[in-house]
């Protein structure tokens, strides 16, 4: 059980800002998570169409796609940031 949060166009394409999902044991890394999610429906597939672009934070810290998910409580997916 992990809380997923989505921002900007990732949020819009998936169609929700957050949800709690169950991850199968085969999902070990961020990359595993992205490919798992993209098989959950067309909305996810569209949002994660270009996985390299997707930025990931685990428990509110930036993580690379090869990072282990470990005991994450909150995982955020979002596009490259455009603040400032």
């Amino acid at each position: 059980m992990v809380k997923m949060v989505y921002f900007a166009w990732v949020r819009e394409r998936i169609g929700k800002s957050e949800e709690v999902i169950d991850l199968p044991p085969s999902v070990e890394t961020v990359a595993d998570l992205l490919s798992h999610l993209s098989r959950l429906g067309d909305n996810y597939a569209l949002a994660l169409d270009e996985p390299d672009v997707i930025r990931v934070a685990i428990d509110q810290e930036h993580r690379q796609h090869d990072a282990s998910i470990g005991h994450a409580r909150e995982i955020a997916l979002f596009p490259p940031m455009t603040g400032g």
């Binding site: 921002f7 934070a57 955020a76 596009p79 490259p80 940031m81 455009t82 603040g83 400032g84």
Partner: protein, 153 residues
């Protein structure tokens, strides 16, 4: 680090003068204050507004982490970062970075460093709302924002 950075994320505008006063009050050793204000451009009159979204909690902690790193690299007296969210009209303020130091070089470098890393690391996203009423498009990240980080390596 001898100070705690002031970090605020808010809908309201900020007042640069009172923010500088708060940073310098009672700091007799402050000789230099550098501020960066980021403003909403009108994009040749085509833009009605920007809509700013952020990741609450992480946005504050990333900005704070960047400010602390700046204070480790330069002898800063104080740092204030304010980032607005919500709807922002052309000509309005989006972000303020202010850094103080005894001398100007540290204040310039500290403010510039914080602004460059805020752009690349702080979770904010801009959507453009066009004047012709079309629903807006998300602003793309700029290559030059990544290039800007190279000067600090």
């Amino acid at each position: 680090m001898a100070f705690d950075p002031t970090v605020r994320i808010q809908q309201d505008d900020f007042d640069i003068k009172s923010e500088i006063e708060a940073l310098t009050a009672g700091q007799g050793n402050t000789g230099a204050v550098v501020t960066f204000s980021g403003l909403c451009r009108d994009e040749d009159g085509t833009l009605s507004a920007l809509e700013l979204e952020h990741y609450p909690g992480m946005a504050e902690s990333e900005i704070r982490r960047i400010a602390v790193e700046a204070a480790d690299r330069w002898p800063l007296g104080g740092v204030t970062v304010i980032h607005r969210v919500g709807k922002i009209r052309p000509g309005e303020n989006i972000v303020l970075v202010a850094a103080t130091s005894k001398h100007r070089q540290a204040a310039f470098d500290g403010a510039h460093f914080i602004m460059d890393f805020l752009k690349s690391d702080a979770p904010f996203w801009k959507r453009e709302i066009a004047r012709d009423g079309r629903s807006g498009s998300w602003v793309d990240a700029k290559d030059r924002d990544n290039d800007a980080l190279k000067r600090w390596r």
